[in-house]
Point group: C2
Chain length 621, copies 2
């Protein structure tokens, strides 16, 4: 990562401010139909709003977070910043360039109106009278805050976990004011398992004899034992099994009688009840549980219809509270809805909390995705440098696949301007950028390597991080005009399936591959009795990624059997001998690399046979 | 599966009996140093003890189980049998042949002495005075029961989850009385995550205001709310995420206000507190948490030293409470300790409770593993039939790998009698049986297919179910005299690594593979320009499992580079032309298949060079 290039420093001293939101006579209307007569919001800001107001980034916090994202309070208090390693000068969300705003949510207990706030009607804390709140209510409240701050446009809205739910709600409720959205370790709705843990946690709170239906503020007692239990259950779900094993295993405390994990849980429970309100925990988890993006509109795809922002969906590999499959659902629905979406699954061993604990490449991914603040020349300069460095890095590491470049000019000519393209195994995104620049072709890449993902994002293209061998199922038929598989068919596990899939999701396909039928390979096997190595096949037999070798004629035969029509075949020679053989019309002998454009055989043409296939047969040497 | 051949019927009416165990004056000594003055044990039996008493099988129940395994009580009561689909005439544990015994554990609340039993010293329930119990105490108690029942020998001890811990404890404490052990979905000790859930569950119980330190029996109140919470947490951990999603998703109840998963959890909690004691839950989960097989002896391997039983370790793929990695640890430690062990990982989508809910092939695996009761001729006859059927099934499905058989005679001759052999990709175990029968060679197989696993178990051999590409790491150096890789090197992802691994775990290796340098393949590629197909390579290029093709000379070169010495090379022709070429000494042209015996190059010989390699080079055509 080019991460090391900039020195990261603390966001420094920061103040939590509170603001009384001016409300109409009816108060602040909630999704449940009730309203709040008053609304106070606590918020913090970092960095400076640019004169053009084009650099505002709003951060949405998760269940137990607050407005205090980074830096420190003066005098020091016990509020820990929740994303200090992500927000600050030189960090993933760089406060030298962005004006970052974060606010405590409605229903919370860190300065924004919540169940422990005084109810103006009774002059006592709301308690059991606090109305049901929704994720949408949190977002609407924060929208009013931004209005008060004079912010009408967001360069980005960013959130993880429940914060990711808010980020999605932002781009659906206020599509015209947001350019970019980053949704991390989140979902369109909780899984049954995560619902179950929340339900049990709330039951633990309401079973506490001090709960008193939520009206405990005046009793002098607090349902701390129930809230601690709830927090402890939560804590287990925030960490991966692997991380707990590494961190605690079956180790005992020094005293010897208790497991370390027991002492950890007790510490976490005890710490939490000092800073959190049981009613807030009850209401916020209820809001999370009820959040269900596709419920109203019938499908996720429809729910995303209003979205105008570019969206980055990030999943964490070991997250079991918001498993990657749920992030994939989000990304696929955005794709189906025709939106600009990038999906990235980070290798994060620490579970759901990885995005807070161990940022890893997440900072790089976010930094690459966030837009250049063009009104700040220093940012444009730094971004351009970083972009170049990332591209360089991704190129250096792709070794033989760089050879793809020879195909690029030919591929670019094959695709109609204005097409929508899927580039399978897109590497650092060079082809996608070429297509965009030269032919006005909008594309999306698929690649498994996070370095490639960062480079593609940095280049401004969309990408889905994933394995082609099981990556296309969720893409609907005919989503693209053309799918490209450049120097990749021979490395996939199921070439036939991949070909079928690419011609299902796209009207046409372009495939390039090394021709095992080339004279040099035949000669080597014939004369030396060794597996061919060199040229288009640079690896030893035992460590080659090329696990399905085949010749042009093999490919032609497969196309015939699978009712695939070959529209163009371009044979690329890499030596004079190859060139001479091609000159004699001996394609299967002469071609070192092949590039073909294919489509499904239209039903009406199926009986006519495949001309290209016949021609290929004549060439057989 | 041949499962359908026998009609499965209910175990029928059964009675729970209780017995007062005669104790010495000091009472029943517990691992904690305290003792129980009286010990009553509740048990049930199924089937008939054979005159030779060689058919007794003891079942160990899990946390919330009881003596009531199968069948029904008369008159009907609300005790549900916990393994009715596994135990009965025609079922996995066939009560027509086995005499099955199951007993409630010490500390329980279903008829065996536990915290709710009357303490003879106080004439009131033990409550807080009940001593700490261990998994070992449960086993010692049951050993006394068997003595009373006149059973001195067990054909098998079987248990799942906490029952698996007891089963392991049985074969360590009483090695001489047990022939076979089946340990399902269990571990040598809980993971940190599972510990955490138990700790939180007990905290929920002790936080209940009715708990009263455990002395609630006379108060008229019961800590039901805490116990229900504990059970609900448990229930989530018993099911897989996938299963909860399928079963409940985000569905609401008919009334519409609650999630179905909420109503399910409430039902489970409510049902449980009617039949279970909070003190028993507290004590049994504590015993599970404290169980740590390797703690005393320093290593699992040492803990297993006394074991004389054959052990079958079964893991369930989606179990996250006792994840498969923990079962693999058990199996590997048994292997390192030189015990007879078979490991099997069943594809079980329902999580930890799969072994109770959806038995699937588990019944077949258990049935294959359990010994023939030779004193019951009907059993011997049925077992022989089933064995033949399973072998047939496993053979039919292995298609091209059946070709291996041509090698078997040669391989058998290559291995010294009395050797210990590892057969990688062992198929239905035919070679292992041949080696055992003809050369007194004891072996263990590795295969990924459950049908093969059942066939190998049925044939009386040991097998590790797993993927060779990541299966050997846990086997220590030089565990075997010889490792066999018959027609498998070309299908693995990392051939070089697999070769290195096999020569690390075994002193010698025997490898057979199709020779891509054979004249027929060369000719086909040369003349037709198509990938070779036929003979030793029967697949199309796009769906072949043979992902790393290579020639004899390629193999020789790899051996040279990797300091592997080739001890014998046998070339197998499959046509007259091949035979003729071999006659001319042209091995790389003539051999259709190759069989080589290899070993690591001893350091002192490393400089002398590799004779066999040189000879191979001369043959190059």
């Amino acid at each position: 990562m080019s991460d090391g290039q900039t020195t990261k420093v603390s966001a420094g001293p920061v103040k939590t401010r509170t603001i009384q939101i001016p409300l109409p006579p009816g108060g602040f209307n909630l999704d449940c139909g009730q309203s709040l007569p008053e609304l106070q919001i606590a918020y913090e800001t970092y960095g400076t709003l640019s004169p053009k107001k084009d650099n505002a980034v709003f951060l949405c916090h998760a269940l137990s977070g607050s407005a205090h994202v980074a830096g420190y309070h003066e005098p020091l208090d016990d509020t820990a910043p929740w994303w200090d390693n992500m927000v600050g000068p030189g960090k993933g969300i760089d406060t030298r360039f962005y004006y970052v705003v974060c606010a405590n949510i409605i229903g919370g207990c860190r300065g924004t109106t919540g169940p422990s706030s005084v109810n103006p009607a009774t002059k006592t804390p709301y308690g059991s009278l606090f109305p049901h709140i929704s994720i949408g209510d949190m977002v609407s409240g924060h929208r009013l805050l931004l209005k008060e701050l004079g912010i009408e446009r967001l360069a980005a809205v960013i959130g993880g976990s429940m914060g990711g739910m808010q980020a999605l709600e932002w781009i659906i409720r206020y599509p015209d004011m947001i350019d970019n959205c980053i949704c991390i370790a989140s979902a369109a709705g909780l899984s049954a398992q995560s619902l179950a843990f929340d339900i049990i946690s709330r039951k633990a709170i309401t079973s506490d004899p001090h709960w008193n239906g939520g009206d405990f503020y005046s009793t002098g007692n607090f349902p701390g034992s129930g809230l601690a239990l709830a927090r402890q259950i939560g804590h287990v779900t925030y960490l991966s099994q692997e991380m707990m094993e590494t961190k605690f295993g079956r180790e005992k405390t020094e005293a010897g009688s208790r497991f370390q994990v027991e002492s950890y849980l007790e510490y976490q429970g005890g710490k939490f009840i000092k800073r959190f309100d049981a009613n807030s925990y009850f209401h916020i988890t209820s809001a999370i549980d009820q959040y269900h993006l596709s419920e109203k509109s019938g499908s996720l795809e429809k729910a995303f219809e209003p979205v105008r922002a570019k969206v980055l969906v990030v999943a964490l590999s070991s997250d079991w509270l918001f498993p990657p499959s749920q992030s994939i659902d989000l990304a696929n629905a955005l794709l189906r809805a025709g939106k600009h979406v990038t999906y990235c699954e980070l290798d994060a061993p620490h579970g759901h909390d990885s995005f807070l604990i161990d940022v890893g490449p997440l900072g790089e991914v976010i930094r690459a995705f966030l837009p250049w603040v063009r009104s700040l020349p220093a940012h444009e300069e730094e971004s351009a440098k970083r972009k170049a460095a990332n591209m360089e890095l991704a190129t250096t590491r792709t070794c033989p696949f760089c050879e793809r470049r020879k195909d690029y000019a030919i591929i670019t000519d094959m695709i109609r301007p204005g097409s929508r393209v899927l580039d399978l195994g897109c590497g650092n995104g060079e082809l996608l950028r070429l297509l965009a620049a030269k032919r006005n072709i909008s594309g999306i890449g698929v690649d498994i390597d996070v370095k490639h993902v960062i480079a593609v994002i940095d280049g401004g293209q969309d990408i889905f991080q994933g394995d082609i061998d099981h990556g296309l199922q969720a893409i609907p038929d005919n989503t693209f005009d053309c799918a490209i598989l450049s120097e990749t068919l021979q490395v996939v596990k199921k070439p036939q399936l991949v070909l079928r899939e690419m011609l299902r999701v796209a009207k046409e396909g372009i495939v390039s591959f090394p021709n095992f039928g080339n004279w040099s390979h035949r000669l080597r096997l014939l004369c030396s009795g060794r597996m061919p190595k060199g040229g288009a096949l640079p690896f030893e037999w035992y460590d080659t990624p090329n696990i399905h070798l085949f010749t042009l004629d093999d490919f032609i035969q497969l196309c015939r059997e699978d009712h695939i029509r070959m529209l163009n075949t371009v044979c690329i020679p890499e030596s004079n001998t190859s060139r001479a053989l091609l000159g004699l019309g001996l394609r299967n002998l002469g071609a070192d690399r092949i590039l073909v454009r294919i489509m499904r055989e239209p039903d009406k043409l199926a009986q006519k046979g495949n001309d290209d296939g016949k021609q290929g047969r004549q060439d057989t040497a």
